[in-house]
């Protein structure tokens, strides 16, 4: 653990905080794009330690949160079919659809399995040639390459009973959408390091220049976050707006060429709906024409889905940085991790869940929320 400990060193953190304090002269609003960064910030109390002038706005980078309700409802319908083995990463199982979640599908007899890699789902397809195996392929540029690789392998190995329910999203169009939305307060971005480790940084200079915002590629450990903030604040104070890599141990400017080649082969860019935000042009991937046979939506022709978002849920505004989670009227009352109205409350990386889990000091838990277990 020495390696990770080094990135949580309190003494080094104090020095970075001192540097930020001595640099900042006026209020700045930074957005951390990734839900993993939000989680680190709240879990370690970084936002409490920053000077008041530095405000962190939580971005839309939680893959679970932004997966549209329609796709989740499609997943639920496919997963409930008796011929299907539905495979997913664990944190999608509790995300509510319009009227149920994957756990509930499983409790009614659906064969829903948690896997740790899409290739595990492919193995299941090989082991069960008489069943249809569907993998729920969601996420940003980080999870897209292995999912693309799995489809590539399925075709190469001639595995006909595997398909992908795909809802991949891309970060740069989301940044564009945030910067052009009315009422945007974001003045700089902490870009998601793992996204850049795949895609590189080529897409960012044009964004930074056009919107005059610093974009600092940032990692996920506490010191990574503080270093990202430090560099961002320095740029803001100097009136600069360049792309800076504060995560060089993982990110090269060209990214991962092999992963990018795989993405280009298997996927094509498409407009994509983001839960709580709406459709963002060219913000997603779908399977390209050559791999369309492996698209679960085509294979199962899931149609007639009518979605129903809870009226009280303001997760879209949270995802765009317009409000903080606790400023939503439903936060902690109608909406808790056990009774989530939106995915931002249910996902482990969702901003609402992070606030609920870590930031309720001064509130009293209800009896059900903290009761003894035999």
């Amino acid at each position: 653990m020495k390696y990770l400990d080094e990135f949580q060193n309190p003494e080094l953190a104090r020095r970075l905080l001192d540097d930020i304090r001595s640099t900042v002269t006026r209020p700045w609003a930074l957005m951390e794009v990734c839900g993993g960064q939000t989680h680190t910030i709240i879990r370690h109390g970084i936002d409490q330690l920053l000077p008041d002038q530095v405000e962190l706005i939580h971005g839309p980078g939680c893959p679970v949160c932004v997966t549209p309700l329609e796709v989740i409802d499609k997943a639920l319908e496919i997963a409930a079919r008796p011929e299907v083995i539905f495979c997913s990463f664990g944190d999608m199982l509790r995300v509510p659809g319009s009227d149920r979640d994957l756990f509930q599908v499983r409790s009614r007899g659906g064969d829903v399995r948690v896997v740790y890699s899409p290739l595990d789902a492919l193995k299941i397809a090989q082991q069960h040639p008489d069943r249809e195996v569907v993998f729920f392929g969601i996420g940003f540029e980080t999870t897209a390459p292995p999912n693309a690789m799995t489809v590539y392998q399925a075709r190469k190995l001639g595995i006909p009973n595997f398909s992908l329910l795909v809802s991949h999203v891309r970060v740069p169009p989301a940044i564009e959408a945030i910067m052009t939305s009315p009422g945007c307060r974001v003045q700089a971005f902490l870009a998601a390091g793992h996204v850049c480790s795949v895609m590189g940084m080529e897409e960012y200079p044009e964004l930074a220049a056009r919107h005059r915002v610093p974009i600092v590629v940032t990692g996920f450990e506490p010191l990574d976050i503080l270093e990202g903030i430090r560099r961002t604040v320095r740029q803001l104070e100097r009136g600069e707006h360049t792309v800076d890599n504060a995560y060089p141990r993982a990110v090269r400017s060209e990214g991962n060429p092999a992963a990018r080649a795989m993405l280009a082969d298997v996927f094509e860019v498409t407009d994509r709906s983001w839960r709580g935000i709406g459709t963002i042009p060219a913000s997603g991937w779908r399977l390209s024409e050559r791999y369309r046979d492996y698209d679960a939506e085509h294979r199962f022709s899931v149609g007639g889905i009518t979605t129903k978002e809870p009226a009280a849920c303001r997760s879209g505004e949270v995802l765009q940085g317009f409000i903080k989670p606790h400023e939503c009227e439903a936060f902690g009352t109608l909406c808790t991790p056990r009774t989530p109205l939106g995915a931002t409350m249910v996902s482990s990386e969702g901003a609402c869940a992070a606030y609920y889990l870590y930031r309720r000091l001064g509130t009293t838990p209800t009896p059900q929320e903290a009761s003894p277990v035999v």
Binding site: M1, K2, L4, Q8, P10, A13, R14, G36, I42, R43, H44, G45, I46, D47, Q48, L49, P63, V64, F89, G90, D91, L93, R94, F103, Q104, R106, S107, V114, Y116, I138, G139, F140, T142, T143, H194, P222, L334, T336, P337, R338, T339, S348, E349, L357, Y358, R359, R360, L361, G362, T364, P365, T366, P367, Q368, E369, A370, S371, P372, V373, V374
Partner: protein, 351 residues
């Protein structure tokens, strides 16, 4: 099928949204608690059950007994550091030990799946026998049932146990008072990560073994220093976080823990970092959390460290008068965060 009137239940209640049992109802978190509180406790009634301890403290003919039962459905049956057999013995022994009792007698119920190989059953039974002898407890009665192939995971076990509570020992959350020192007996998270690594075929660079062990001897050692321990809890399902949350709620006391003081083995920390899990929520099977009056804390800690099962014991925090019912962690960087009861099972994250 009986009908249950849920109209009077207060909101939010997940049972309204959970018309069927989901895995989280067995995860040792909030869903488990609600199942017990909203279905089992009202159905059974009874003041003793309402205390909802790891074991029940009962009195028979003037003798104070601890009484407990637990069921074991672990998969795979054999895992690094143990198997379902020693888990079933140690689990119930530990539930009794958390009342301060040395386990005396156990019962054992086998539910076997048709087709399971006989050497597997023998291996489980052998492990149970060895664990019972090591813990100084006798398996005094038992039962066997067989279910049809496909209706079980090979072997399910249930154990119940009784033991004597020594005079002067009164362990319950209500005795926790601000100023009590919180001690954990050693490295956390080993059992949960060991099970996960074999169940899911994950490799973390080093083999992680379960900490499965009987804690009766360690508790005896602690009580020899002072019978005035306030509460003990073995942080099994739901991990250290759930144990602390339960104590905070039941005692109406706040708890502050120093996150950096919690002993987390590097292999567990790495595995959790990869999977996006928090070691505080990962299950243990051979650890305990003790709330000890401050004046006895150093002596108890020394005694624990002199015992093989408490060699890694550490003070991790204290009970406080502020924020009653809530557990708050001081982060290594100097921030604070609330530690909440887990909902159900922890779920590995997507990326």
């Amino acid at each position: 099928m009986p009908t249950v009137d849920i109209s009077g239940w207060t909101c939010p209640t997940p049972l309204r949204d959970q018309p069927r049992v989901v895995m989280g109802h067995g995860g040792g978190g909030a869903l488990s608690a609600e199942l017990v509180q909203q279905i089992f406790a009202p159905a059974f009634g009874g003041e003793i059950l309402a205390q909802l301890g790891d074991s029940a403290a009962v009195s028979l003919g003037g003798v104070r007994l601890a009484f407990s039962t637990d069921s074991y459905v672990v998969r795979p049956l054999f895992f690094p550091g143990g198997c379902i057999g020693d888990l079933a013995v140690n689990g119930t022994v530990n539930d009794l030990a958390m009342s301060g009792a040395q386990a005396a007698y156990l019962s054992c119920g086998f539910i076997l799946e048709e087709g399971v190989e006989m050497p597997v059953v023998a291996g489980v039974a052998d492990a149970m026998g060895a664990a019972a002898r090591a813990a100084g407890v006798e398996v005094a009665t038992g039962d066997t049932k067989v279910v049809e192939a496909g209706h079980g995971d090979g072997v399910y076990l249930n154990t119940a146990g009784i033991g004597l509570i020594p005079a002067g020992v009164d362990l319950r959350p209500q005795r926790v008072t601000p100023g009590d020192v919180v001690i954990v007996s050693g490295d956390i998270g080993l059992h949960g990560v060991a099970i996960m690594s074999v169940r899911e075929g994950l490799e973390f660079g080093v083999e992680i073994e379960s900490d499965c062990a009987a804690l009766g001897g360690l508790v005896e050692t602690m009580l020899a220093v002072t019978p005035d321990l306030h509460v003990l809890r073995d942080p099994t399902r739901g991990g250290l976080a759930a144990a602390l949350c339960e104590i905070a709620t039941a005692s109406c006391t706040g708890i502050v823990i120093q996150e950096r003081a919690i002993p987390v083995p590097p292999a567990v920390a790495n595995a959790c970092a990869i999977l996006g899990l928090d070691p505080m929520y990962v299950a243990n099977e051979g650890k305990l959390v003790a709330f000890v009056p401050r004046e006895h804390a150093d002596a108890v800690l020394d005694a624990m460290r002199a015992h093989p099962l408490g060699a890694g014991a550490a003070i991790i925090g204290e009970a406080v008068a502020t924020h009653p019912g809530m557990v708050v962690a001081s982060t290594p960087l100097g921030g604070t965060r609330v530690v909440d009861l887990p909902l159900g099972e922890q779920l590995p994250r997507i990326c």
